[in-house]
């Protein structure tokens, strides 16, 4: 999914901007707009020096759960739906982005050869988002964190699997096949044991997901559409037992969106019958859907089927105005005639916007409708990126 690029770059910006902030002499030094991450992506600000996504490659696990530092961008994207023992419903998101600010170092020319090098030297940084949709309390809460891949502050590894940033992590802490998620901020904390219920599903062409006609504007992309999740949710210091289902999206790339692409709407639906649907709709600048939009249908038995843009029809049923004047679509009718699927996705809460830079909407949705004439229901996550302020 292209969202990794876009988001990660944007987040990176947020990181550095805040960055010099506190310590700083800080003030805007360039006109707004010139620093837009999208502009930067469009300029394709050189993926030279990075590995590029051009051809199909074999995926190997667990290695591919780990980082691919020769690519510019990568993310581990966990979303999920939980229910407490008292019946409260919750949605959560924990995402780790890895960004290489420059291709891996070439050996230095020896200017400071005798001086010991600082352990803080790195070209890889990590950004993480933790969000909780507390449905009963009608609140949405998010936190953003940044750290560099140095001194063990943040990083990722394949075996045993671990991705972390400061105190937030998803890691195999004991038994193989069980990943423990830990995240906490000032309002919420989450500790979950997650077990993948299926092997990774490769999206696109055997994991090669092409975003535009520009060479390299593509990513390697796999998902684990269902992970069993159980553990504890903390509201401040008070713990509640929770359980539910999570989704993992994994993607890495060095490229950018095409100049005519503005953003995307991403859907990850988990239906109660065990099937799942992933679809991303790329939006062109003129508002129309881009033909490179695509998705994957995963049947209850785990068999996956790629979906093209034409396979999926999405109608926006209503909108939500963010406090900052961004108009987001807010309810959808999703139809895949080839699958006999006709469902509506309704946000559990209108405001699930992360006010990061750029802002984006990533929220828990309820699914209801029918499949092949039968009632169908489920849960999902939707991500809306690249909507302009009006």
């Amino acid at each position: 999914m292209a969202r990794s690029c876009l988001l990660a770059c944007a987040l990176l910006l947020a990181a550095c901007s805040g960055g010099v902030g506190p310590a700083s002499v800080g003030n805007p030094s360039t006109a707004p707009g010139t620093a837009s991450p999208l502009d930067m992506l469009r300029a394709g600000s050189s993926d030279s020096g990075f590995a590029r996504v051009l051809t199909v490659r074999p995926f190997e696990f667990p290695q591919d759960h780990g980082p691919h530092p020769s690519y510019r961008l990568e993310w581990w994207y966990f979303t999920g739906h939980l229910r407490s023992t008292r019946g409260e419903r919750l949605g959560f998101e924990l995402t780790f982005f890895r960004v290489a600010v420059a291709p891996q170092a070439v050996p230095q020319d020896g200017a400071d050869a005798t001086a010991p090098a600082s352990s803080w030297r790195t070209r890889q940084i990590y950004v993480a988002h933790f969000a909780v949709t507390d449905i009963e309390r009608k609140t949405f809460h998010w936190t953003e964190r940044h750290a560099r891949d140095a001194l063990g502050l943040a990083g990722a590894q394949a075996a045993p699997f671990r991705v972390w940033l400061d105190g937030w992590s998803v890691a195999q802490e004991g038994t193989a096949g069980v990943w423990t998620l830990r995240a906490a901020d000032r309002a919420y904390g989450l500790t979950l044991e997650m077990r993948p219920l299926s092997p990774p599903v490769l999206n696109g062409d055997r994991g090669l997901s092409v975003k535009s006609d520009v060479p390299g504007s593509a990513s390697y992309y796999y998902s684990i559409p269902r992970l069993d999740a159980r553990g504890q949710l903390f509201r401040g210091a008070r713990a509640t037992d929770v359980s539910g289902t999570a989704w993992l999206d994994r993607e890495w790339s060095s490229g950018a969106l095409a100049p005519n692409e503005q953003g995307w709407d991403w859907f990850a639906l988990q239906l109660d019958d065990g099937s799942a649907l992933m679809f991303y709709a790329l939006r062109d600048i003129d508002g129309a859907r881009d033909s490179h939009s695509a998705g994957t249908w995963i049947a209850a038995d785990g068999r996956a089927r790629a979906l093209s843009s034409d396979d999926v029809r999405i109608d926006v049923l209503s909108h939500w105005h963010s406090p900052d004047g961004i108009l987001y679509p807010s309810r959808w009718r999703i139809r895949v005639s080839s699958l006999g699927l006709d469902v509506e996705a309704t946000p559990v809460l209108a405001d699930q916007e992360l006010q990061t830079s750029p802002r984006y909407w990533e929220g828990d949705v309820d699914i209801s409708g029918e499949r092949n004439g039968q009632t169908a229901a489920g849960q999902g996550y939707v991500e809306l990126v690249g909507y302009p302020r009006r």
Partner: protein, 888 residues
């Protein structure tokens, strides 16, 4: 009533010189007080701003000893406390194009997690909200949120990439870059502890943020490498939410800290750093108090003359039916208006003068303590009020006393000059007793108080007042005596002196004023000279080594100022070096506050250089075992004595050190410790300086080139360069300050003199104030006497003779003032040297007096007296005789 006011206004307008002098006196007094306040307040504020600019929204910070904190502690805490925002900082002082700047190494990623909510008033918060507003104006095709609030200098991924990956990348304020002449993306050399490093300016901040002018920002990795602090952090900034959750986090955080590492509130640091400058600010404060003293006196004399001069007018007004209260009210209102105007003028002038002082103050601060750039002149409303209040109050009191006196005599009596003089005579006699009383009180105050600086100043004030009180009687007695002697030889001279004695109400006060000013000047200059001499002797004794080697840079005790160990071993093995001292400067924490620590390995012959003022037996064996020596000022401040213990925060936690002795130190108010003990306690192997003793027959001049060669070859062999020539040119070699004993002494004395330039400036300011006071009072007197002169001139006195007569009178008064002032000034100096200095700074200085100082005083008295006579002499020589007589 309106007649009264009209009379008052007309009087002042008719005597513009008088009005101007009164105003000038008031203004100068207030200005002197204000200027010192401005200088100290502005530099403190500049420092506080630079601390705030660096700390940003942090609520707390974690600090360690001189070696800082292990960076792994940061990683551990970051993983363990996801709810607490933490940011690492590495800092040190650097020199760019001869300007001292503060290098701050940060991790922008960690800083980004700080929220500004907890400190809405902070600079960065202001910068962020200012930046947030225009961020919406981006083109419609991109998410406008893309320009995030607080976008600062690194506004693209490419720039963050440069920040993180390009060697030497730094960011600084545009104003700083312009001042240094560094263009965007410009490359420049940055010097740290004698080493040159290549830097490139990748970002400039166009906003002029207060406190940011002395900062150079770099990535934490770069700063660690440049400062030689790889693996260490200077501190960790902490931000916790306010309230119970934050307190709980802090408590848990504290538990995780290893010994020797402390968590404290963010403001603590700036306070602590300012504490180090205590001696310096106390010094300024003392000067300001002296200025206040002289200023008050000046205001008093200016105002009381303005009132005394109108005794006659008041008497007429009272004869016309005005009540005492009317007159009193009139005088007070007038004094308030004059006082207010003068004080405001003084405030403005003081701020102007303060600007001049600021340059001196900040230079001293940079040399000795920390890098600070005073960009804005600030004066707290409190001290402005204080200065204006002092001026106004003195003006009122000064006016009240003579006004009360003038209104409490029968009107027809007041019209007679003789009544006033009779009264003055009586007063002069009474004042002799008052003088004795004041002197006794001064003695009693000194004897009765042990530590109070205020009491010492009160005693000083009493002492000076006692001189002032004695002066009129002295003047009268000596004038009469001399007049009797002269009568036969020079009738005119006899008349002139008799006049002086007879007009005691005028001359007495004028001479008292002059005596006071001269005494104050003698006191201050003798104190400064005594200090200077003591320092000189102390340096001669302490600087026992022949050659001193150190790394250049600002700040005495900065951890980054260290000598390359290879250079150290090369230097001490140069032929001709017989033995050496090794020193390491550091600032460590103690429960009582920060302590400057000098860790030394002393050659045996250096022991004699440590001048112990309090000790038991031979301290050196105990010193080698871990006991410490405490410098006099610190011992005084914290009441430490041999046998006490001082607790210091070491790398392994709080540890008590035995105090073996107290030693004289005018340089720092710190602690002397054996370097082996220091290394064991703080794990710091660094060497800040070397003192080399030369073998007999070897001279500094011979050996210095050899030392440079040895240092250079040590660095060359370490770099392993192919040819010596190219290696010599290679960057990264450490520049050294190698100076002979005499050189170091000269440098130290010049630092002292620089510091005391301020003192001298104030000294002359005070003298100027006194001279104006004398001029104003003599002028009033001489103007009154124009009729007598007219009579003398009608009897045949030439204009030249009249001028000479007046000058002779003023010179005589100047000499009498001097006679009174010299013993008083010496007493004041003694008080300043032994009591005020001790109480203010804790150190003891020896009394030193030079003839030149007394000659200075003589010069001041005579110049002031001659100047005071010039205008009246000129006037009376030129005025037509008839007009003079008619005036009365």
């Amino acid at each position: 009533m309106s007649t009264l006011w009209a009379a008052s206004v007309r009087h002042l307008l008719r005597h513009p010189a008088q009005l101007a002098l009164a105003l000038a006196g008031l203004a100068l007094g207030v200005a002197t007080i204000t200027s010192v306040d401005v200088a100290t307040a502005s530099s403190s504020r500049a420092f506080a701003l630079s601390v705030a600019a660096v700390s940003g929204p942090a609520t707390h910070e974690i600090t360690g000893g001189p070696q800082g904190i292990d960076e792994r502690l940061y990683a551990r805490l970051a993983a363990r406390f996801p709810r607490v925002a933490l940011a690492p900082v590495v800092e040190g002082y650097v020199t760019v194009r001869d300007e001292a700047l503060q290098l701050v190494g940060i991790d922008p990623l960690a800083e980004a997690d700080f929220s500004d909510e907890s400190s809405p008033g902070s600079l960065s918060a202001a910068a962020r909200s200012a930046a947030a507003a225009p961020a919406t104006a981006s083109s419609a095709t991109v998410p406008s949120a893309a320009a995030p609030p607080g976008v600062t200098l690194l506004d693209s991924v490419a720039e963050l990439g440069r920040w993180l990956t390009e060697r030497g990348s730094v960011v600084m304020a545009a104003s700083t870059a312009n001042r240094l002449g560094i263009p965007p993306s410009g490359r420049f050399t940055l010097e740290i502890s004698g080493r040159s490093h290549q830097a490139v300016l990748i970002g400039r901040d166009s906003g002029n943020q207060a406190g940011g002018e002395t900062l150079v920002l770099a990535d934490i990795a770069q700063a660690q490498e440049w400062l030689g602090l790889v693996g260490r952090l200077s501190r960790i900034e902490v931000q916790v939410p306010p309230g119970a959750i934050g307190d709980a986090d802090l408590a848990q955080l504290r538990e995780q800290l290893p010994p020797g590492v402390q968590l404290e509130a963010a403001q603590q640091r700036s306070l602590a750093s300012l504490d180090l400058t205590r001696a310096f600010t106390t010094d300024l404060r003392a000067m300001s108090l002296l200025a206040l003293l002289v200023g008050l006196f000046l205001i008093y004399s200016a105002m009381s003359f303005a009132v005394l001069q109108r005794r006659r007018t008041f008497a007429v007004l009272r004869a016309l039916g005005a009540t005492r209260l009317d007159i009193l009210r009139l005088v007070l209102v007038e004094a308030a208006v004059l006082g207010g105007a003068g004080a405001l003028l003084g405030l403005a002038a003081g701020i102007g003068l303060g600007r001049g002082l600021i340059a001196l103050v900040s230079r001293t601060l940079n040399d000795l303590y920390f890098v600070v750039a005073v960009q804005s002149v600030s004066l707290s409303p409190g001290s402005a009020l204080e200065a204006v209040g002092a001026g106004l109050l003195t003006a009122l009191v000064a006016a009240l006393l003579p006004a009360w006196e003038a209104t409490h005599v029968a009107p027809q009596l007041a019209l007679r000059r003789s009544a006033l003089e009779a009264r003055a005579l009586g007063l002069a006699r009474a004042l002799v007793f008052a003088s004795a009383g004041l002197a006794l009180a001064a003695g009693a105050i000194v004897a009765g108080s042990s530590r109070s600086l205020l009491a010492a100043f009160v005693a000083l004030f009493f002492l000076l007042l006692s001189v002032a009180a004695l002066t009129p009687a002295l003047l009268r007695a000596s004038a009469r005596l001399l007049a009797r002697r002269l009568r036969g030889a020079s009738p005119i001279g006899g008349i002139a002196l008799g006049d002086v004695a007879a007009s005691l109400s005028r001359t007495g006060v004028a001479v008292a004023a002059l005596a006071l000013a001269v005494a104050a000047m003698i006191g201050v200059s003798v104190m400064v000279e005594s200090f200077r001499e003591s320092l000189h002797e102390w340096l001669g004794r302490t600087m026992s080594a022949d050659i001193y080697v150190s790394a250049p840079g600002p700040g005495f005790d900065r951890p980054e100022r260290r000598l390359d160990p290879r250079v150290v071993s090369a230097l001490v093995s140069v032929r001709g070096v017989s033995s050496y001292n090794v020193g390491r400067g550091a600032t460590v924490s103690s429960p009582l506050g920060p302590v400057r620590l000098d860790a030394v390995t002393l050659a045996p012959q250096a022991h004699a250089g440590v001048q112990l003022t309090e000790h038991r037996g031979n301290v050196w064996p105990a010193f080698a075992r871990g006991a410490i020596l405490v410098a006099e000022p610190l011992a005084w401040r914290w009441s430490l004595h041999p046998g006490d213990r001082l607790a210091l925060v070491t790398a392994s936690g709080l540890r008590s050190f035995d105090i073996a002795g107290i030693y004289r130190d005018y340089g720092t108010d710190g602690v002397l410790m054996d370097r082996t003990v220091y290394r064991r306690s703080w794990g710091d192997d660094g060497v800040s300086s070397l003192g080399l003793y030369l073998a007999p027959g070897v001279t500094s001049g011979e050996i210095v080139p050899a030392l440079y060669t040895a240092a250079a070859s040590a660095a060359v062999s370490a770099v392993g360069a192919a040819s010596a020539a190219s290696a010599a040119a290679a960057a990264g070699r450490q520049a050294l300050l190698i100076a002979s004993n005499a050189n170091v002494r000269a440098i130290s004395m010049s630092i002292f003199d620089q510091t005391f330039v301020i003192t001298r400036v104030l000294d002359w300011l005070a003298a100027g104030v006194a001279a104006i006071g004398l001029v104003s009072s003599l002028l009033a007197w001489e103007l009154e006497r124009t009729r007598e002169l007219g009579i003398l001139r009608s009897l045949g006195l030439t204009p030249r003779g009249a001028a000479l007569l007046i000058e002779a009178q003023t010179v005589f008064m100047g000499l009498v003032a001097l006679v009174a002032a010299v013993p008083a000034g010496l007493l004041a100096a003694e008080l300043l040297v032994t009591v005020v200095n001790r109480r203010a700074f804790g150190w003891q200085i020896d009394f030193h007096l030079r003839g030149a100082q007394l000659i200075d005083a003589l010069r001041l008295a005579l110049v002031a007296a001659l100047l005071a006579g010039v205008y009246p002499a000129w006037r009376s020589a030129r005025a037509p005789i008839a007009a003079d007589i008619r005036e009365e």
